[in-house]
Every structure is written in C-alpha cells, then in structure tokens.
C-alpha cells in the first residue's frame, strides 16, 4: 500500500493523537449502536404487542360495525357518520432518542364520548355507540402503532448507519492509521540508524 505520509516526528505525534481521537469516537459510536439497539429491542417488543392489539381491536371494531349495520341498517350508520361533529385530527411533532429525530404523533377527537359525537342521546342506538367506541379505540391504536412503526424505522436506519461507521472505523480507518503510525515509526528508526551510521563514518574520516 502506498502511503502518502510524511515520516516526521510531528506527523507521528499528530497521528497518535488522531488515532486516540478515532478510538474514542469508535468507542462512543459502539456505545451509541448498542444503545440504539437496546432501544430498538424494547420498542420492537412493544410494537409486536401494539400490532397484536391493533389486529384484535380491528376485529372487534369490524364486528361491532357489521352488527350495527346489520341491525340498525347501513343507512342509519351512514346517517350517524355524516353527523359526527369533530373528525379525528392527527398532529405530528418530533422528539429525540439518542440523537435520532423520531416522530411523535398526537391525536385529537380520536375517541369521542357520546356528547362529543354531537348526535341526539335519547334516540341513540347501543349498537351504534359500541361501534363508534370500538372505532375510537381502533383509531387510537392505529395512531400509537404508526408512531411506533415510524420510530422503529428511523431507529433501524440510524442503527445501520452507525453500524457501518463502527465497522469502517474498526476495520479500515483505525487499522490504516495504525499502519501509518508503524510506517512512520519504522521510517524514523531507520532515519535514526542512517544518521548514526553517517556520524560514525564522518568520525572515522
């Protein structure tokens, strides 16, 4: 390998300092990778539970809306649906997990009470109430799962990038710098031996 390095003592000192810095960075990146991976594993198990809960909630909601449509009629369900006073709203902000910017999803009017729905209470149907409640819970679960899923994706991307950096430092950057350091040390030693030999020759003359 051709090394474009000046074999000087100051370069050796600089290189030693850079190796130390790089090794510090390497250790920090390794810690970050392990930390991110730890966060990822915790979130992953939560995500698996959330997904399972989402599936169960969806099945319950579907069952409730099917029952409401079958008993009260699809037109009654549509009539109630068009009158909902507030549609669910979702607001996405950001927060930081170990330097990774992840989305934070907050919803409003996701799960509404009887009064918030704005429909008449006296003539309401328990089947429609239960369908609306189930869908409120479903939307909450969707929002929670969406936040977790996008957080997991961001964490995964960051873990991959950190892993690449750690590997690059461990298998390329640091070994190359150590090689350069060895080269300079050898060259300096050789130059020192040459100088000693030259001095001896000069003394003999």
């Amino acid at each position: 390998m051709a090394l474009d390095i000046k074999p000087t003592r100051s370069e050796l000192i600089n290189l030693k300092r850079r190796i130390k810095q790089t090794q510090n960075g390497y250790n920090l990146l390794k810690l970050k990778r392990d930390g991110l991976f730890y966060e990822f594993r915790i979130l992953l198990s939560e995500m698996i539970e959330a997904k399972q809960a989402l599936v169960n909630t969806f099945i319950e909601a579907k069952q409730a809306i099917n029952l409401a449509s079958s008993i009260e009629g699809g037109l009654a369900v549509k009539s109630a649906a068009i009158a909902i006073a507030q549609s669910p709203e979702v607001e996405v902000s950001r927060h930081n997990i170990m330097g990774v910017v992840v989305p934070k999803v907050e919803g409003r009017y996701l799960s509404q009470t009887l009064e918030e729905r704005g429909l008449g209470l006296i003539g309401g149907s328990p089947y429609l109430d239960e369908a609306a409640d189930s869908y409120g819970t479903l939307i909450e679960s969707i929002v929670k799962a969406a936040e977790m899923e996008s957080t997991l994706k961001r964490l995964l991307v960051e873990i991959e990038a950190t892993k690449r950096r750690v590997n690059a430092l461990e298998f390329k950057v640091i070994p190359e710098m150590q090689e350069a350091q060895s080269f300079i040390q050898l060259r300096l030693e050789e130059m020192e031996r040459e100088e000693t030999f030259r001095l001896k020759r000069f003394k003999n003359k």
Binding site: S70, G73, L75, A83, L119, L121, I122, G123, D129
Partner: protein, 348 residues
C-alpha cells in the same frame, strides 16, 4: 274501548286486511331457511318475496347489501303508505301516530346532513335515495337549506317544526334530535283520546323500554346523573320517583334492583341478560330481551283486541321486523357474521 268510540273508522275492514297482509309476510321457518343460504341466494329469495320491483329500481346503481337495504326500505315506505291508505277516520289518526316515528327519523337525518354540509348528491344516493318518492320532500328541504335554522323554518307548521319551535336559534344538533325524539312520544300521548287507550298503553310501555335501554347506555358510557336525567322520556309507566332512583344507580345490578321494585316492570331473563352483558362487554343481550318483550306485548295486545288499531299496528311492526330481519341476513351474511350471531338477533 276508547279508540272504538268514535265513528267513521273502518276498524274491522282494516284489521282484516292487515291480518291478511301479515299472513303473507315471511314466516319463521322460511326466515330460518334463508339463514342457511349464501348472500346471492338470499338476494334472489328476497326478490321473490315481493321486493323485486324495488330491487329493479335500485339495481342500476347499487349492488349487494346496499341494493337490498335500499329496496327493503323503499318497499316498507310504500307499504306504510298503502296501510294508511286503507285506514279511515279515527283509525287512520291512530295508525298515523305510530307511523310518524319513521318521519321523525328522516327529519333527524335531514338535520344531520345540513349541519354537516353533506352535498345533495351524496345524500340522495347513499342516505335518502331519491328513487323513493317518500324521500323527495326531505331532499327538497336539504336542497333549500344552508343551516339548521333553514331546516327549522322549512319544517315550521309540521309536527317536526313544533318539536323544534321551543329551542332557541343557537340549539345544537344534539338538542334538536333529542327534542324530536321526546316530542314524538309527548305529542302522540297528547293526541291519543285518553291515557287508557290501547296505543297509549303500548307507547307508555315503549317509553319505559327506551328509558331502560338509555339508562344502561348512559351507565356504560359513564354519563353523570344530570346527563342520565336528560335522557329520560316522560310519559312512561315507570314513575318519576323510580326514574330518579334509577338515574342514580351505581351499576347494572343496582339499576335492575330499582326497576324490579317498580310496578309493571317485567324482569324475566334480565338477570341472565345483565350477566351476559357484563361478560361480553356489550348491551346486546339487554337490548335483545327488551325488544323481545316489546314484540311480545304488541302481539298480545293485537290478539286481545282483534277489532282495534292493534292488528294494523301489529302488522306494521311485523313488516318492520321482516325488513329488519332481511336486512340483518343480507348485511350480516355479506359481512361474514357467523350464523349463531345472526340467529341470535333474528326477531322471530
């Protein structure tokens, strides 16, 4: 009987025609056979049972369960108009009171559509199909109204307008719907000749059933005592004192205990229904038992009073039940509900 005291009515003729019509409705055996059929076969059978012309009307733009439901509703509206057509005099007034409830539902749909700004086409295609001539007057109101105030103005002079006239201009949709629901029973009981008339007895029982269901709903939804109180419809057989106590009940068991102490409350099967309701997390078992009690009361009153408005009303309710059952089968089968679930909800 009070209802028979006035002249000009064709009680016997209308009762006979209603009984004949009722005999032509789908019986329990046939309904159970339908339960075993696939959705397409159910649709074909429904067409054969006298709904073909209405299905043809909607077949160009609807399909599946939507087509069946639109056809069933259209047929029912047409049937109600025919029944009112052969009733005369005081009988017609009494039957109209019962039939009015479907108009109140449509008034609420119009209010909802106007408040939410749903466009005319969506409403006319999906909620109040314009092919059904009974919906035209309601669609016209939607077309001419920009806000709830316009709807109230358009309804002025009608019974629906009278229900809304006491509300101030800033009343919410919820207040308007509640006013309509409360007004239906109040106006009906006031119109009927005396509190002892057959229909008023039935309506009072129906009010109790509605109040009982609403009390359980309110409890499930965690409404406060004041909110529960606002849900109660006045005029039922349950006394005001019983309702006040019921509104304050801490749980379903306490509510049932209060209702059980009241005169005339039929608690048969309610303990089991309450236990099933708590276990399944749904009010379905309680609603089913209360609906069954109401149907049974109507059947009993019809049999005990063969020459009265009740055979007509019983026929109307049977027709409504048939439509409800067919819709349940069509929608339930299309949605993949299990046969056990469908059978449990069939009113036969």
């Amino acid at each position: 009987m009070t209802m028979m005291a006035k002249g000009g009515s064709n009680w016997a003729y209308a009762a006979a025609r209603s009984k004949t019509r009722k005999a032509n409705l789908i019986d329990a055996t046939r309904m159970r056979q339908l339960l075993q059929q696939e959705p397409d076969a159910i649709a074909a059978s429904i067409a054969e049972f006298g709904y073909r012309s209405e299905m043809d009307v909607y077949a160009t733009r609807l399909s599946g369960a939507d087509l069946i439901e639109a056809a069933l509703n259209h047929n029912m509206d047409r049937d109600l108009a025919q029944v009112l057509g052969y009733c005369q005099g005081n009988l017609k007034e009494v039957v109209s009171i019962y039939v009015d409830r479907f108009g109140y539902q449509k008034a609420k749909t119009v209010l909802r559509a106007v408040r939410s700004g749903v466009d005319y086409e969506t409403l006319a295609h999906q909620v109040l199909p314009e092919e059904n001539e009974e919906n035209n007057k309601w669609l016209e109101i939607v077309k001419q109204s920009d806000d709830l105030g316009d709807v109230v103005s358009a309804l002025s002079g009608t019974r629906y307008g009278r229900a809304l006239s006491d509300l101030d201009s800033s009343a919410s949709l919820m207040q308007m719907e509640d006013a309509l629901d409360a007004h239906y029973y109040k106006a009906s009981l006031e119109t009927l000749p005396s509190t002892n008339s057959l229909l008023s007895r039935y309506l009072r029982a129906e009010i109790d059933h509605r109040n009982v269901i609403n009390l359980f709903r309110a409890m499930r939804q965690g409404l406060s005592v004041d909110q529960r109180s606002a849900l109660m419809i006045k005029g039922g057989k349950l006394s005001a004192a019983t309702l006040r106590q019921a509104e304050q009940a801490a749980d379903g068991a306490a509510l049932l205990e209060i209702l059980r102490r009241a005169n005339g409350f039929d608690d048969t099967g309610m303990d089991e229904a309450l236990a099933a309701s708590n276990e399944q997390g749904t009010l379905d078992p309680i609603v089913s038992i209360v609906t069954g009690q109401r149907m049974s009361l109507l059947r009993k009153m019809s049999l005990l009073n063969p020459v009265s408005a009740f055979p007509v009303i019983h026929y109307i309710e049977s027709k409504v039940t048939e439509v409800r059952n067919l819709r349940l089968l069509a929608r339930g089968k299309a949605a993949g509900l299990e046969i056990d679930v469908l059978e449990a909800h069939l009113l036969i």
